[in-house]
């Protein structure tokens, strides 16, 4: 079970917001050097304020824009344990699954949540809770293969463990 403090964001948070292209291209191959710039224009000092296990709760179209996979990777590196949003941009969604960052679609939780609330994401039983507000929302189960990838911690870990991606014969 995932449990952490909520960071509440709005609609249309882009991968440029998460990590600006100019840092990606000035430090083109080093994730660590980009850490200070994660979400910096949205939440100044985010990389220092965020704690391991925290959950981002956002509105529509989270992760829109550039395909840069550094965006979900950096969120995971700084400690974000899941992103709950009303909808996701499809590339961000695939990237997040691939690197083992749970991405959860929920409609009401983003409406009721505020920064600082305690959020729980229970992928096994398919529930997201705002513990602070005493509110719970059921979420659609992931397709079997995606659930298996998230459980293993990402597609690379899955392949290392089972020899191939789940859809190409790797069974876990």
């Amino acid at each position: 079970m995932i449990r952490g403090r909520c960071w509440k964001l709005g609609d249309n948070v882009s991968t440029d917001h998460i990590i600006s292209g100019k840092y990606k291209f000035s430090a083109i191959d080093s994730l660590d050097s980009m850490i200070p710039h994660v979400l910096e224009e949205v939440i100044p000092g985010f990389h220092e304020k965020v704690s391991r296990g925290d959950v981002i709760v956002a509105g529509r179209n989270f992760g829109k824009g550039s395909s840069r996979e550094q965006a979900p990777r950096l969120l995971k590196i700084v400690g974000v344990s899941a992103v709950v949003a009303k909808s996701f941009a499809h590339i961000f969604y695939r990237n997040a699954v691939n690197i083992g960052l749970p991405v959860v679609v929920a409609q009401r939780i983003p409406e009721v949540s505020e920064t600082g609330d305690i959020i729980e994401v229970d992928l096994e039983s398919g529930v997201v809770r705002n513990v602070t507000k005493g509110f719970e929302e059921r979420i659609s189960p992931f397709p079997r293969e995606i659930a298996a990838i998230l459980k293993t911690g990402g597609i690379v870990e899955y392949i290392k463990l089972y020899g191939a991606p789940p859809w190409l014969g790797g069974t876990g």
Partner: protein, 419 residues
């Protein structure tokens, strides 16, 4: 069932429906110097792959920071070259051009293919009647290593373009007007398929702008089934379909359908801070700009350079503006050179840059300082996209960009294109 479901059904040998998750052979995979470094890392370090089943249909492009503006980029480029030599992956090096244009120029992307590109504007090439999916680096790495990937068949929205674009209105204006209406999340989880009589007078160059901008509505993919315009273009380019797909749109049930009258479209501008903040050019006319950029995978094709040259020929770029023009590929560059467009632009005071994504992604070749304002033919105007976080970026067509370069402030191009 839209074109993409029919194509995927053909590929997997059974009927699929929107929402189905299926595994498909990927006919071509590509990545660029923003996404390739992670592809390399995943393949060589994380997966430790022993062979790459799709190496011969994998293409790397050095286009985002090309030529290398700093040592970090140079190092990445060196790694990409080493990787391509080692694994037999095709490399398009510095100066070749922007991936989405080069795959078209080189006949890598052909009708009926399933293509994955590690770049969000991969749907651009859907104008060739293929299924183009933008992905991230790990997805591309797995497609390269295994030759196959999973896709979720997207529900398709039919967009019918009616009427005829007025003089001075380009497909960028149609695309921006669509984004303004549908908003940046209007097509999340869906694919866009274009139809309608207006397509008869929209060239292939212009079509790639339409499909390109579907990314800015959140569309997973965009497609224009091959029609007479595309057939003629394919023939003149010496290209044949990769795979034939039996498809009859009139027998198709789409997830949604909307009609858009292009005869009423005006030159459009997306004002900061987002692509759906779309206004008629008249509403922002007179806004002073410091820089104009004409290029990118959205509007760096021959037709775009041609209209800029037509407007700027015999005129001068305004003294307070620097105007940068970057043809999207070497092929476009050479043809624009041969036709005298680049000379006209250079004589007018433009800086003609090599093919590169550079300014669009804030990588190099024309960044903005604090407080500066630019108008560009690119696809995103997010804060800080082209430089300092407190710079401002307006998006428009190449015609509007050229008129703006002449006047030093946002200008309506129609007065330069009468008769």
């Amino acid at each position: 069932m839209g074109f993409i479901d029919r194509l995927v059904s053909r590929v997997v040998g059974r009927d699929v429906s929107p929402g189905d998750i299926v595994v498909v052979d990927i006919d071509a995979v590509y990545a660029q110097d923003g996404t390739a470094p992670l592809v390399i890392e995943v393949i060589e370090k994380e997966l430790g792959a022993g062979e790459l089943l799709a190496a011969s249909r994998t293409y790397f492009f050095i286009d985002h920071s090309a030529p290398a503006p700093h040592v970090a980029a140079a190092t990445v480029h060196r790694e990409m070259r080493r990787f391509c030599r080692k694994w037999g992956v095709h490399l398009y090096d510095v100066g070749s051009g922007i991936c989405h244009q080069v795959v078209v120029d080189e006949g890598i992307a052909r009708p009926g293919m399933v293509v994955m590109g590690a770049d969000s504007h991969t749907p651009t090439i859907g104008a060739l009647g293929l299924y183009a999916l933008g992905v991230g680096s790990t997805d591309a790495a797995i497609a390269i290593a295994y030759g196959r990937q999973w896709v979720r068949v997207p529900p398709t929205v039919k967009v019918v373009l009616t009427g005829r674009p007025p003089a001075g209105v380009m497909s960028k204006d149609i695309a921006l007007s669509l984004v303004g209406e549908l908003k940046t999340d209007g097509m999340v989880g869906r694919a866009v398929e274009f139809h309608g009589e207006a397509l008869k007078c929209i060239s292939m160059d212009s079509r790639f702008t339409l499909t390109n901008m579907c990314t800015e509505m959140g569309a997973e993919s965009a497609v224009i089934p091959v029609d007479e315009v595309a057939r003629q273009w394919l023939e003149s380019s010496g290209l044949t379909p990769f795979r034939r797909v039996d498809y009859n749109p009139s027998e198709t049930q789409f997830a949604d359908e909307l009609t858009f009258e292009v005869g009423r479209v005006e030159p459009a501008v997306a004002a900061p801070p987002d692509v759906d903040n779309v206004l008629a050019v008249g509403e922002v006319e007179g806004t002073e700009v410091d820089q104009v950029f004409i290029g990118s995978c959205t509007n760096g094709r021959l037709e775009d350079i041609e209209v800029a040259a037509r407007i700027l020929r015999g005129r001068r770029v305004h003294e307070s503006v620097r105007c940068i023009v970057a043809p999207a590929s070497k092929k476009v560059y050479l043809e624009a050179l041969r036709r005298g467009y680049l000379q006209a632009l250079s004589e007018a005071g433009c800086v003609v840059a090599p093919p590169t994504c550079g300014p669009c992604v804030g990588a190099h070749m024309g960044l903005l300082a604090e407080g500066e304002v630019a108008l560009a033919t690119t696809n995103r105007n997010f804060p800080g996209r082209m430089g300092h976080k407190d710079s401002k970026l307006y998006l428009a067509s190449p015609a509007t960009a050229a008129a703006t370069a002449v006047e030093g402030k946002i200008a309506d191009p129609r007065k330069y294109l009468q008769g």
